[in-house]
Assembly symmetry: C2
Homo-oligomer: 233 residues x 2
DNA sequence: CCAAAAGTGTTCAGTATACACCCATGG
DNA sequence: CCATGGGTGTATACTGAACACTTTTGG
């Protein structure tokens, strides 16, 4: 698989083609340090000095788009088991100065600390960036991230996908906190708990969270981790 | 522009490529005869005997994806002024037997009778088909239509896009009828009128609809035809 | 005993739903 | 005068929003 990609890379021309190069880019989100973060790679190319980009790359022939997105997340960032879904496709002729590259963007969601990003070749570094403090971004990746944030905010309100952004076990306060950070608004604690527990998506665990100088919180777990349409907030 | 496309068509190989061919396909919807219809073209190719396909075709280099979608609607079906938005991208390696074609699908909405489809070369005929009585479809166009119908149903409920599916002037009953057909459920007349009029999207016209053996209905018009997020039903 | 987060119910307002009859017209 | 679709109001249930104090723990 990688051999094919390298072959394509060598042939990658500098100008427009009659055929397009098809790429995938993934906006991988997680919530840490009270901010929504996206995973970014620092480019090591002269055309883009000190610029960052989304994890992604070419799609191989005989490869499905979603598989390509998963593969690049794995190869570039060592991330597996993220929930990913297609976001939108960006194909403006001038979006990549090196030629006609049509990029199918994906949104990925992953629980914090569930993998350790490691730099791959061709990149200087890999970093989680808060989406409101992004560095200088290559291509149209700024626009892609903006689209992804809006999609995430929208889907939080009518689906259960939050399950892929929190750890296996979590407290209701942590869950509420994730919503507040992503939706950028405060929620009422009593209303949130009442509503969320009534949805029957969670099971209470026998143990409790400890660790602070305060009353221990009950730990919960999602009973089902498959996407569902439900009115949440 | 067309010359470039023909050039690409001639080179269109029979097997996989390292570069993909990028195409657009449009699911153009309208509501007529109490059914949701999609526009289809009858193929004239040996590989697909008696099969139908969505209007669409290749994207030219230096062309934006959405422009390509509009152009193909125009060239293949003589349709202009449809509201179109990107739906999803379909890129499975085996979705097109002739090679690796990545298709960016669009959803289009157009008022009934607002254009006259005319057959272009390379197609035997062009026809509106009810989405629940589709003919045999080429490629993965069945799946694309299914995705489009679901998207349309979803967006009707939280946006004002119905404006692009009804004529310039319409009665509230016609509007309600469009909702009922697409959402596949009956709505209460009094509640529908109360709700819709309270949204302040419509203006009443001085004239009335005539034509039946019954009381003439007030005609309305959308005051604004730009997409908005609003809770409708 | 103090600080910190966990946990818990009720009231109110606004919105969604259910429901039935008279009106204006053409034929 | 009759068939057809147009047009109207009220009562009830439900849901979202606002709001403050007690509990449990660690230090």
């Amino acid at each position: 698989m990688d051999k094919i990609i390298e072959t394509v890379m060598e042939k990658y021309p500098k100008k427009s083609f009659e055929y397009a190069v098809v790429a995938v880019d993934v906006v991988l989100f997680t919530v840490v340090r009270n901010k929504l973060h996206a995973l970014l790679l620092e480019l090591d190319r002269e055309e883009f000095p000190n610029m960052w980009a989304l994890p992604g790359g070419l799609v191989a022939p005989n490869e499905k788009l979603e598989q390509a997105a998963e593969r690049h997340l794995r190869e570039r960032a060592n991330a597996t088991n993220a929930h990913i879904e297609q976001l939108a496709t960006f194909g403006d002729p001038d979006r990549d100065p090196t030629g006609w590259v049509v990029s199918v963007a994906y949104m990925g969601l992953i629980a914090p600390h569930s993998f350790s990003p490691k730099t791959s070749t061709r990149y200087k570094s890999i970093e989680w960036y808060p989406v409101d403090e992004l560095p200088s971004l290559a291509y149209d990746h700024q626009e892609i991230i903006k689209t992804a944030v809006e999609r995430l905010q929208g889907k939080l309100s009518y689906t259960n996908i939050i399950y892929s952004l929190v750890p296996e076990e979590f407290t209701l306060s942590e869950l509420q906190n994730s919503y507040e950070i992503i939706l950028e608004k405060e929620l009422d604690k009593r209303n949130f708990r009442k509503k969320f527990l009534s949805l029957d998506l969670l099971e209470e665990l026998p143990k409790k969270a400890s660790g602070g100088a305060h009353r221990p919180a009950v730990l919960y777990r999602f009973t089902e981790k498959t996407p569902q349409i439900i009115s949440i907030l």
